[in-house]
Structures are given as C-alpha cells and as structure tokens.
C-alpha cells in the first residue's frame, strides 16, 4: 500500500475509532438520562421516598434507602480510606522509608489495585462469618474502604512524588519536623491528592460487587451501623432484573441519580483542584 494511502486510511481509522467511542458513550448516557430522567423527573420524589414493605415486588415507595445507603457507606469509607491512603503515601516518601521498602509496598499496592472487587466482598464476608457477625452497613463501609484504599494510595503517592523536592528542602531548612514537612508536601500536591480521593470516591460509589455480600442488600431504610443496608449500584442490579416494569423503571431513575452524582463529583473535583492549583509551587510557571 502506498504510504500516503496508508496515512489516510489510518487517520480515518483513528478518527472513526474516536467517533465510535464517543457515539457509544453518548448512547449510554442518553439512554440513561432519557429513560431515567423521564422517570425521575416525572416523580423526583422517588429518590427521597422510603421503600414500601414490598418495594422489590411492587415498586411501592421510592429508593431513599439506597440513596442513604450509598451516602452512609461510601462517605465514611472514603474518609477512612483517604486518611489511610494519604498516610501510606506519606510514609512511602523518602524521608520515612527506603526506596526498597516503597518499591515493595508499591508492588503490593499494584496487586491490590488489580484485585477484583468481588474478592474484597468475599474476604469481608468470610471475616463476617468467622466473627459471628451479620452483613450490615458497617461491613459495607469496611469493604468499600478496602476497595478504595489502593486506588487512592496510588494517586496520592504519584501526586506527592511530583511535588517539587524544593518544598521539602525549604520546610526542613526552616526547622520543620518530618511531619510538618509531610503536611506541607501534601498541601503542595493537593490538586493531585484531591483528584485521587475523588477518583476513589467515584469508583467506590459506583461499585456493586464489594457491597453485594457485605452490606446486607436490605430493602429497608438503613437502621443503624449494624443493620442491613444497600447502595444504589446494588439496588440497580437488583431492580434491573425485576419482572415488575415499575421497579425496572426505577432502575433507570436510580441510574440517573447515580450518574448525576458521579458527574457532579468530577466537576467539583476539577473546580477544587483548580482552586488549589493556584497555590501549587511552580504551578504558574510550569
């Protein structure tokens, strides 16, 4: 094939591939927004109405339980996980640990990062049974936190690594302790750290496999940390398979709520990151 034909062919292919991806994505979002939006907007109250006692059979009431479940599970999980992740990432910096140690930890983090979420679900359930507990909101939090931890740690670690060395030299040079320096390094890398945490949050709020076996898949309003609960993705998974068309239509409404939540999270994170980027050392110049 003539090299110019090849050039034309492949640039057309690249364009086509991008167009295909975008088209498929538009389709997915459009279907969710239209089908879900229609259901949701005709009756927005279903997102804030508690489910009736036979919700899964008859679709009476709304899915407030899953909305709250998502918030009560993913919220605390994100906080716990973020604290752990930022701490781990701080420890992986050179002032605390040797290169060899951080390489080793990074290897483990890579494996954890690639571990299918269902495995975390199985792990936590095994623990639940072993200690004679029952699936509940609390264990949903544990499972999601474990799932988010490697994701956030990797992003945070990368962000901290890219913070200029001069920040550390500066604070040490002023007589700061290691911890004070580490805190300043986190501040310097804040846009990246926030992006990593939001990324973890987004993955956590969208994941069903981890909470499937651990939170109880309850159809009641969450009644306490040790009562069963469910989250939006699990609910959608359950709703999607329902015979009752009304329940099924709720799956689209729940998806709509979920998509809107995830998208707004991402927008918020971009705004936040942008705000802190003003302070980033060298931000203006690089």
């Amino acid at each position: 094939m003539d090299r110019y034909t090849e050039q034309r062919l492949f640039s057309a292919l690249a364009r086509g591939a991008a167009a295909l991806v975008v088209a498929v994505m538009i389709l997915v979002v459009a279907v969710t927004i239209f089908r879900g939006g229609r259901v949701f907007l005709t009756d927005p109250a279903i997102a804030i109405t508690p489910p009736g006692s036979r919700y899964m059979l008859e679709g009476d009431g709304g899915f407030l339980h899953a909305v709250l479940g998502s918030i009560f599970i993913v919220g605390p999980a994100t906080v716990v996980s973020a604290v752990l992740a930022v701490s781990t990432a701080m420890y992986l910096q050179s002032d605390y640990s040797s290169e060899r140690f951080s390489d080793a930890v990074n290897m483990f983090l890579n494996v954890l990062w690639g571990t299918p979420p269902i495995v975390y679900g199985v792990f936590v359930l095994t623990v639940i049974i072993a200690i004679g507990a029952r699936t509940s909101l609390f264990f949903g939090i544990v499972a999601i936190a474990i799932f988010q931890y490697p994701i956030m740690t990797r992003y945070t670690d990368e962000a901290l690594r890219s913070a200029p060395d001069a920040v550390r030299e500066t604070t040490y040079g002023l007589g700061a302790t290691r911890f004070e320096t580490a805190v300043m390094t986190v501040r310097a890398a804040l846009p990246g750290v926030i992006a990593g945490i939001i990324m973890g949050f987004a993955r956590g709020i969208g994941d069903a496999a981890t909470v499937l076996f651990t939170a109880g898949r309850s159809t009641n309003m969450p009644g306490g940390p040790f009562q069963g609960a469910t989250t939006l993705p699990v609910l959608i998974f359950d709703q999607a398979m329902s015979f009752n068309a009304e329940v099924r239509s709720h799956a689209y409404a729940a998806s709509f709520v979920l998509i809107v939540a995830v998208l707004s999270l991402i927008i918020v994170s971009k705004l936040l990151a942008g705000r802190y980027a003003r302070y980033a050392p060298g931000g203006r110049h690089s």
Binding site: L57, E58, G132, G224, M241, F243
Partner: protein
C-alpha cells in the same frame, strides 16, 4: 444476639416462591406488633445457608429440608402450599394448541431436556420456531421441584443438569417471568404468583401457564382445565387435581430453635397468619397438618 447482628430486626431470606406471602405477613404482623423485618430473596439455598451462617433469623424454603440439613441442625416448620407451573409467552406461536390440549409431563421433559427443538414438533404443527428454554441460576427450590417433576416417578433431574440443558438461566422468579414475557418462543417455569397478577389474580401480563395434561391422553379433560384464574388454580391444587411435585409445601426454618422475636412471628403465621394465605395466591395448610406444625414449633427441634 449482640450488636454485631443487628439487634431486634428479624431478618429473613430464602426462596422467592414464598417471598410475596412472607412480605405480606411481615407487613401485617409488623404493624400489629412493632417488629421490624428485613426480607430478601436469593433462593431457598441462600436462606438455608444464611441461617447456618447466622446471617438471618428465618429461612424461607420452597422445599422440604434435606436430611443433611436436618443433621446440621436445621429446624423447619411448614407454612403453606405453593406450586410451580410451566410458562410460555402469551404470543407463543402455538399458544392456542397449548391452551387447548396442554402438555404432558413427558412432553415437558422432552422440551426441557432439549430432545425437542421446535414448537412445531411439540404440537405437531407447521411451525419451525426454535424453543428457548430458560432456567433459574439461583439456588431455587422451584427449579429443584421442577426437576423432580420432569424426571417422573422415580427419577429426578438435578438443578445443575437442568441449568446446563437450558438456553439461559435467570437469577430469580421475576427475571424468568420477564424473560418469558420478552421472548415469544421461550418456555420456563414459575411460581404461580409470578404468573397471575398479584392483585387481581387474573392473567394480565405476557406470561401464560401451560396446562398440564396429567393423564397424557393428548387433550385437556374438564378436571384438567383450571388455569383461567389463580383462584381456580389454587382450588384445584387444594383439591389435589394438580400433582406434587410441582405443587409443594413451603417451610420456615432456623438454625436450631427460633430466636424469640422470630418464634413469635412464626407462631402468628401458623395461627392468625393463615387467614391471609388464600387472598394472596397460596394454598393454606390443611387443618391437621397445621396442628402438627404448631405442635412441632412448640416442641422445638
């Protein structure tokens, strides 16, 4: 109970066959007594597994407990009678023939084991649409009963055999019904509450029961034809005109004796609770069977 197992909520899981009834019961009983419930399906096997793992207080079972389960301490009392029926789409290409003459056990066995591939072969008509067989992928008692039924007198197909012979398996009764509703050539089985409308007891959706030609004479006699409404069907089951399996008793079970709240609920089910059974599409236990169950419960495991 400790705080780790969620305090005073009564948790129930298990077969989706009895699920609608148990939800009604819990609704009524909850209003009367302020007990709170958390009920989920998953299939009979899940319920059993859950009580053994202390995940729930009560398992709903769509079949009798097995010896092995009893050995491990499963304590079950019957609560009602339900049945399973073969189902097809309302627009099935041979729906008229099916409703006219029904299918015999042997016909169904041939279909579900894929000895027969097209609707034409089934009813001897000029229809070459291929049959799609759906099964259940969860731990379904209904499916197990169906396997027992299909196998005939002394034989039975295991769930696993059926699963592998089907064209696709769905996770729960509702999903099977939905699949049937969406595919004109599909056949499967459902608990009857997923066939008749829950409220009206009429055939309203796209799912139709397949009348059973009990004697296998190739046509439906008067006493074999009772599929118009749910009440008619239930009356026939109560009168023994529909075979067991697939009709069967359903049970409430726990690991050892029931916990206090759970036990009170089961006691209620076996007394006041029985009066709601017929209205909700099930057959109540016969009186002596009920008494037996009450004694059982009082006695404990």
């Amino acid at each position: 109970t400790s705080f780790l197992d969620g305090g005073d909520t009564v948790r129930i899981s298990g077969g989706v066959g009895p699920l609608p009834m148990v939800e009604v019961w819990a609704d009524i009983y909850g209003d009367e007594t302020d007990t709170s419930f958390d009920i989920s399906g998953g299939g009979t096997g899940v319920g059993v597994s859950d009580v053994f793992n202390n995940q729930v207080d009560i398992a709903m079972m769509g079949r009798e407990p097995e010896g092995e389960e009893v050995d491990q301490g499963l304590f079950a009392v019957p609560m009602l009678i339900d049945t399973v029926v073969g189902t097809v789409n309302a627009d099935n290409p041979v729906i008229d023939e099916l409703q006219e003459n029904g299918l015999s056990r042997a016909d169904m066995e041939a279909i579900f084991t894929k000895e027969v591939d097209t609707w034409g072969e089934v009813v001897d008509a000029d229809v070459d649409e291929e049959i799609t067989v759906y099964g259940r992928s969860d731990a379904s008692a209904a499916y197990k009963q169906w396997g027992d039924f299909l196998g005939g007198e002394d034989d039975a197909y295991s769930e696993n055999e059926l699963e592998n012979l089907s064209d696709g398996n769905h996770n729960g009764d509702q999903q099977v019904a939905e699949a049937i509703a969406g595919n004109e050539n599909a056949i499967s089985l459902n608990n009857i509450n997923y066939v008749y409308d829950l409220e009206s007891g009429e055939l309203e959706g796209d799912v139709r029961p397949i009348p059973l030609d009990r004697d296998g004479d190739g046509e439906l006699s008067e006493e074999e034809d009772f599929y118009e409404t749910r009440d008619e069907f239930l009356a026939a089951v109560e009168a023994g005109q529909y075979p067991a399996p697939p009709a069967r008793e359903m049970f409430l079970a726990s690991n050892g004796d029931f916990d206090e709240d759970a036990r009170e609920f089961v006691e209620w089910v076996l007394s006041d609770g029985q009066e709601f059974v017929r209205d909700n599409g099930y057959v109540p236990l016969e009186d002596d069977r009920l008494e037996e169950a009450q004694d059982n419960l009082a006695e404990g495991p």
